[in-house]
């Protein structure tokens, strides 16, 4: 009985570790996306500064 409990615990621990590792990789590599925006950038030139 004790052996079965230990085996289940070990497997659960292994599954949780693998899940955490995969989540960490996705978290570090993912960009998360960006929201939409309105407007744009316009380059300034000489007359804009005067």
């Amino acid at each position: 009985m004790a052996e079965v409990v230990m085996r289940v615990l070990r497997r659960a621990l292994l599954a949780a570790s693998v899940g955490a590792a995969v989540a960490a990789v996705l978290r570090l590599r993912g960009s998360g996306g960006v929201p939409p925006r309105q407007g744009s950038w316009r380059q300034l030139s000489g007359p804009d500064f005067r």
Binding site: R27, L28, R29, V34, P35, W41, Q43, L44, F49
Partner: protein, 349 residues
């Protein structure tokens, strides 16, 4: 602070240029130092360049590229007596070298983005005024171009209430190491007339940089922009400075750098948001630029050096954000291919 560079001053000082040998020392021969040296050699305003490097033997190939100017390479030691000393070495100890350069009768241009260096350089103001020499602090991308753009945008307001600076990208390896350290150090924000300290890496904000770099998450770090801008905008409610970081940057910020820095950390961008009152209503202006930080730092330091040689800059210890009129600098940068951009699309209700 009167600071309009008088182009006519060039005519007045031309005799001096031809009569004397104008000498500039560039201390630090990394990516920024080399960029400054290249631009000064091409400008024709300098007769003799002294390059300071920890490993002079590595500069032989580079020195051969500098045409039309006498070049001498020196190892670390006492600073040479020159007209202008450009401090382009890694952060730390800039104020001590600036003090030594002032003692030699030299103008100083520093590209350091360390808060400690900037504070110590600002403290040299009285000594610089007494010596009738200028110490130009943070003559680089950020601080530097960021302060210049903030100053320019601020002039369009009757009253400036908030200035928010964000940047991404770095110059050479020394700049990347400095940013890596800054990510975990205490950040300083100006808030209602007082300095507020926050842990580095906090205060996430999504910032839209000029295209094509687009949106990046930015966080607090030990950046000197707020310190410098507070001198020019003493009455504003808030001044903040943040830097873009990926999740990996934040995750590894507390560790030593896990891999060697890139030769150049560009392209980079800066975005300055200025809020205040204009024509009696609340308004927000967003101005920015996109370029290689090392190239911008090289151009700004070179312009500061050339105009110091012409005697066109005021004495004392100051930064580009403290200029009365930033337009001549922006026009000169535009001539050198570094252009600012304004974001259009924000309501001004």
């Amino acid at each position: 602070m009167a600071s309009l560079p008088d182009k006519e001053a060039g005519a007045n000082s031309a005799d001096r240029i031809f009569a004397d040998v104008t000498t500039v020392a560039v201390i630090g021969a990394g990516v920024v130092g080399r960029s400054v040296a290249r631009q000064l050699a091409a400008s024709g305003a300098v007769d003799r360049l002294i390059l300071g490097s920890r490993r002079p033997e590595r500069l032989r190939g580079f020195v051969r590229q500098l045409i039309g100017v006498d070049v001498e390479v020196i190892a670390p030691g006492p600073l040479p007596s020159v007209d202008v000393t450009v401090l382009a070495q890694p952060t730390g100890g800039h104020a001590e070298l600036a003090d030594e350069a002032l003692g030699n009768g030299s103008h100083v241009v520093s590209v350091s983005d360390s808060i400690k260096d900037v504070e110590a350089l600002l403290d040299l103001d009285a000594a610089a005024i007494k010596a009738d020499r200028s110490i130009i602090i943070g003559a680089s991308f950020s601080p530097g171009l960021s302060c210049l753009l903030a100053r320019h945008a601020g002039l369009r307001f009757e009253r400036v209430e908030e200035v928010h600076v964000a940047r991404m990208g770095t110059g050479g390896p020394a700049c990347q190491r400095q940013l890596h350290r800054a990510r975990t150090k205490e950040a300083i924000d100006w808030r209602d007339g007082n300095w507020r300290k926050h842990p580095g890496g906090t205060g996430r904000e999504l910032v839209w940089f000029p295209d094509p770099l687009g949106a990046r998450d930015c966080y607090r770090a030990a950046l000197p922009d707020a310190l410098l801008l507070s001198r020019n905008f003493p009455d504003v409610d808030r001044i903040t400075a943040k830097v873009a970081a990926t999740r990996r940057d934040r995750f590894t910020a507390w560790l030593p750098m896990l891999r060697s820095p890139h030769n150049d950390g560009g392209p980079g961008a800066i975005r300055i948001e200025v809020r205040g009152m204009r024509d009696g209503i609340q308004a927000t202006d967003v101005i920015g630029a996109i370029d290689y930080p090392s190239a911008v730092a090289g151009a700004i330091a070179a312009i500061a050096t050339e105009w110091s040689l012409l005697g066109a800059l005021p004495s004392g210890s100051w930064n580009l954000g403290m200029l009365d009129d930033p337009v001549p600098w922006l026009l000169e940068l535009e001539e050198r291919g570094i252009k600012a951009a304004v974001y259009e699309g924000i309501s001004t209700s």
